[in-house]
Symmetry: D2
Subunit: 355 residues, 4 copies
């Protein structure tokens, strides 16, 4: 930690800092510059409140934190990239596991909400045939207004399990509150934490305890640092299987629903060993842009994509405007696969699927 | 609802819209402009998904919603401003209720976290003496990193109740998860929903059912419209006693922790009858700016303020950098009171309190 | 300057930094922490590119700048607040100067654009009668689209001068390009630099040379630090009479045209001795909110306001939606004056003006 | 144009709108909905101020504009994509023109600033050998602080011309002010308008008149719509050869210098026929991320890239932190080329250049 003093800070003000540092069992190194004095703080452990408590002492301009904030998600103490396999529960015999963070780019696809057996099965078959290996579908939906469709609940989970049993796709679905973790965990292969719950810390801890992989959507205005700290909440419960998913941030631009922060992919990869996915559908908000953003995400190095697809987007009960039709989805897959190959990854697409 | 067609949209595309509208039991009015055709949609109820489902039909540029989204929080069906009284539970006999949304500007003050009996009582006495009528203090703290102080839990609630019993201050404290609503509700007079939980809809519904006043902090990047819709979640459970609290939004500017959106005060007042408060402490993030923002909030028309104060900010376990000392708090109160008077409100400050 | 090294940075990497620092004529102080090494850089002058050139050396995490960036606008070498008087050119004998940065809050008012002699004179008389001391009016208008009204040019300047000659109001008007500085300077008392030109550095230098006061609107997404550096451009030409004007920044919120960053007032006052004004009209974008934001700006400590007023806002050639009518303006002035008094300032309003 | 009235708007308020519309020579169509009345406005030309003047009439909630704002840059009246060839002035005989907007992805590369003959020529040879076809280099540099390096001026232009004469690369350089257009135009093949000048309308018009291609960087917080309107300023002077260049927007995230809005590529392509480029260097601000963003930009469909490269980034006089070394640049080119091929474009890279 480094304490930067004001131009003209007084001797006693500096002494006060030194005393506070030493009384915390740390040592203080003073560097007198031409314009300002700075004080280096050395030692461990740093009391968590030391920074803000020093910041308000008279004569202090700023306190800069030097040590890493990521004990589990950062590279410092975990120098290998996280790779893990998800084996779909109760899947047909011979179904291969889905490897996350490995050589293959993983595509998750499916409707925003599970609406019916027919809707879900039709979608599952089509996205499976096109090369997706994980099926998404919301059974519990957070909605901005209380007057909108909020999901089928457990019936939705059952339908997801049925689709998995038939197709062998792994499934991912959102859990919204700690009390639902046990129930959702009985069905899902991967927990999804939505953007609105990205800092719902009790929920993060609860899925951390549940021992299944967790995908953390980035909050709407979350710093990348805060997002990785949210992953620390899950990991601190003993669960290292965390996926970060960039899904667009809120900016002033209104031409898209959110602004896809595609730079988050290489930034996360520099700061953390966790796999990082891109959700082009929520970022774009309009299906006309979903394809281009999928290609951009894979080109930037994403380990996977999460794409909304629906048999009839203009009749969807939620997020129809950003869902691809099943034909559109199948049309984009070979193009995504081509970009994956161009950047040294792979996305196997069953033969017969054509752009 | 209005559907705006592309320049050169085809006759069949327009017919498709009209058919979709009519099959929803609504009527469609076509206006042919020089450049574009627009279609007015009339009737109720509007299916909640109609807008996005029309938006993706070929030939459509945009669908504009016309009807209000706020059934309970808006003025349309509730033309009086919301005013309600909070009577501190188990307060000393003769303690007057705190009237929210009335003529008086209400000041909530106290530490970020409840740390000890001594810290809390010292604060409660001082802020009471300076004119505050509600005591804040966190017993359950959401923290960005899992390695920081997270509050005293129920012991914190007990200490709040003790401070209330002595001073007669009403109390407000944050509840973070639905499972805690019953416990927190046994102690608190007002539930606080924090910015990170502003779209935790199950929590909003749970406090809605609890039947005590609720203060909704604005989410870090929440549109004012979304914030009022969050209030709808609480109100739809039969609880009309909701306070909206502006606490700064996230922008590109880093000189302050957040950017106080002081315009939110008059904007909320135009859209809703609910009372609106300002939290200058979380907005500023630095105590040097808290006083000026308090004055600005009251001048803009806020019904109240929520200010962090601590006996020894440089030893606080959380948010010390933005806490006023008790002397600073007492020093600002007469100045806030003077501005309240200047805008036709009142903030009674006990005699003997001086700037 | 402080160089923060990676956890595990190598000895040679540290040596490379030290060498680069020393070869710039500076000295390097190494502090070895438990997790990281940091290097303090001491001496002057700092080569302007040193920071970014060190940042990309291997093993470096971050380089933190310590010394101030504001040589002229900051408090370090100019410990008095800037106060200056503007004497309206060719004003009626006995017209008092307008003191900027002093005890009195200064109100600038007038139409967005100068449209006609009648419109301008009517406005000038009315705002003068209500207590404004400076008249605004655009003769050269930057417009987002090339197909909109762009001002009367020199004829507009003449009309401003006529209004000044009659009323004694000082005048302020925008200059858009270096080539116009001489012409505009022949008429205006204060140059206005618009938000779109806030980083038009050649224009800043040109008005710096012209030797008349300059008001710098904050750019739409300008950091406060960048804004003060823009003032340095003007001041570095020998012109210390600079006013900073907060006029709203661009954020994700769309309920207002821009988001008034009212915190900018105390933040600027902490960083700089220059006077700071608030423009509530461009911030709000809707006249319903202009009054409340005016009060908030003054309460926060602004040295002045800039308010758009027009005899007939619904017939204005630009920005009608955010202009007050002359009656509305006169109605707000006593309320603004009351808030000014409440915060220890003054805004003299002629008797007979009532809210 | 559509006027949306308040719930409960009065008959006279509606009549006032209709009268205002008709007195502008337009016709008004009233649609009475269950909750609100809306009024469709039909006819041309729309007076430019009609929208904002109607917006402030009593009873009006909102006025929605329907007709396109882009007369020249939009698809409505120009249904072919813009493609044009740039022939480097005084280039060696046989030098092929650079085709912008065609099948090939165009790479512009070079240093932030022209610093010396040696620096520029070394760079020019290297980027040419790696497959770039346009050389960038600033002779006039806008800098946030007045105390930084501001370019070599005309000497920089001469050096660019020398590098072109030797290599056959076309050149692009920034022009900062209308008075410099003639001089810069004598040397450059393409004018660059920087982000800070994106709404410097007089400069836009001046380069519009100069009759050479113009690249418009997107302003730091410019809406895509405003950016295309800036292109209209250039085009309205008779110059159709405009390139839009996305270079990152300002958001709350600080891990990168700016946030690359990669969605801007498909959004611009939907709204306009103009070619769109991506500048990954200014977006990232750190060279570690430049490669990934280059790939993302091309994958999203960009017509070209603008990349900073320098023989010795850690000695650069500006923007060293975001410059690739010449070896790094050569290393990324084949990877960019592979992605270009994957999305059906081409980026010919001379043989012998390897990743």
């Amino acid at each position: 930690m480094i304490v930067i003093m004001e131009h003209g800070a007084q001797r006693e003000q500096i002494a006060e800092i030194v005393e506070r540092v030493q009384s915390s069992g740390l040592s203080a190194h003073i560097i007198e510059g031409e314009e300002r004095t700075i004080i280096g703080v050395v030692g461990t452990p740093l009391p968590p409140t030391l920074q803000e408590n020093l910041e308000i002492l008279p004569g202090v301009v700023e306190v800069v934190r030097v040590s890493t904030k990521f004990k589990l998600a950062g590279w410092d103490f975990h120098p290998q990239k996280t790779v893990f396999a998800v084996t779909p529960q109760d899947a047909p015999p011979g179904t291969p596991p889905v490897v996350i963070g490995g050589q293959d780019v993983v595509v998750i696809a499916g409707p925003c909400s599970v609406e019916s057996a027919d809707q879900l099965l039709t979608t599952a078959r089509a996205v499976h045939a096109a090369g997706a290996t994980v099926l998404r579908g919301g059974a519990y939906k957070p909605r901005t207004s209380p007057y909108e469709f909020r999901g089928l609940g457990e019936r939705g989970l059952e339908l997801l399990a049925e689709a998995r049993a038939e197709t062998g796709l792994a499934i991912i679905t959102e859990v919204m509150t700690p009390a639902d973790v046990e129930l959702v965990g009985r069905y899902t292969d991967i927990f999804q934490i939505g953007a609105r719950n990205a800092q719902n810390y009790l929920l993060l801890e609860e899925v951390g305890k549940a021992g299944k992989p967790v995908m953390l959507k980035r909050g709407l205005s979350m710093l990348i640092e805060e997002w990785i700290l949210a992953a620390e909440y899950v990991m601190a419960q003993g669960n290292p299987q965390v996926i970060l998913c960039e899904r667009g941030i809120r900016t002033y631009e209104t031409a898209t629903r959110n602004t896809l922060d595609v730079s988050a992919v290489p930034v996360v990869q520099k700061l953390s060993h966790l796999p990082v996915f891109v959700d082009p559908s929520h970022a774009a908000g309009k299906r006309a842009f979903v394809g281009a953003l999928s290609l951009a995400g894979v080109a930037a190095g994403a380990d996977g994509l999460m794409i909304e697809a629906h048999p009839s987007p203009d009749h969807a009960l939620s997020d129809g405007a950003q869902s691809l039709s099943l034909e559109e989805f199948a049309g984009w897959m070979p193009r995504i696969s081509a970009v994956a190959s161009a950047v040294g990854r792979a996305l196997p697409v069953p033969s017969g699927v054509e752009a």
